[in-house]
Symmetry: C2
Subunit: 140 residues, 2 copies
DNA sequence: ATAATTGCAAATTTTTTGCAGGTTC
DNA sequence: GAACCTGCAAAAAATTTGCAATTAT
């Protein structure tokens, strides 16, 4: 159970109701777009403004609380900061699944970067395809 | 030397002056955003409309001539379709470099997908960091 | 108490659309 | 010649901004 208030305070942000609900929502769903977020959070906080979502996402990404996950053919989604991992992106339903297992590629990515004198900071891997659920649907 | 007209025709698209110049520009620069493209192509074709850039990018991605490269914190860029590869993305200048060497990750990515019963179609790897040129600048 | 944050409304920016005229195959 | 494309202008969608009122520390 994540303590959202502490997470915010630790990053120099005040723990507002809006922010805590944004974090809870992302924590529960894993990955959400700006629009997804607004639609969900406005349910528990009807006076919520879309501008507040935008301002907070920008701020929380800056402060390192959230990470933007850009996706080909769709709007970016946002996730909580955590260890680097791999994304399985379903091109049918847009769902994103995490797979925690970067150890095996780590050496390669590091070497590649060194070869180019590139100062590597972050890795983002998207594997695009059809998730199990969507494959089922297409059978019927 | 790529034959842009043939490339377009092969994908069921007419070889217009606009499209050929979009392709040539991307071919030369490697990766370009919508805005980059408009700014460059309008130089050789002053009557070019931004709407034409949009329509063609969408169409050429659909037809598999171009690939969208989504990038955290920036607008997507577009590249010519080619073998899957790795992107070194500079977070300072936005430059993107290709590294052709997926063989080593291939087995891992394939296994990961199989474990999830995920039908893998495409891989996209972005390594974010500071390119050599930008590191130099920061020394001064 | 103070500095940060919110919500609103308006401004901007980005992307899409419809259609008449022009072009490619 | 038929189907496809372009450019324009207008519309729609997405994002940003300024500011007065409110809230967290």
């Amino acid at each position: 159970m994540i303590d959202y208030a502490a997470l915010l305070n630790d990053h120099g942000l005040k723990a507002t109701f809006q922010r805590m609900n944004i974090l809870r929502q992302i924590d529960q769903c894993g990955h959400m777009s700006v629009e997804d977020l607004y639609e969900e959070v406005v349910k528990v906080h009807p006076s919520l403004s879309l501008a507040t979502i935008y301002k907070n996402i920008i701020l929380m990404v800056e402060k390192g609380v959230l990470v933007e996950v850009p996706i080909a053919g769709r709007k970016s989604k946002y996730e909580l900061s955590k260890e680097d991992h791999i994304h399985l992106v379903c091109t049918e339903c847009g769902d994103v699944e995490d797979k925690m297992c970067f150890d095996k590629t780590d050496a390669l990515f590091r070497k590649l970067s060194e070869d180019e004198h590139f100062k590597l900071n972050k890795r983002q891997v998207n594997l695009y395809g059809i998730c199990e659920a969507c494959q089922m649907e297409h059978v019927s």
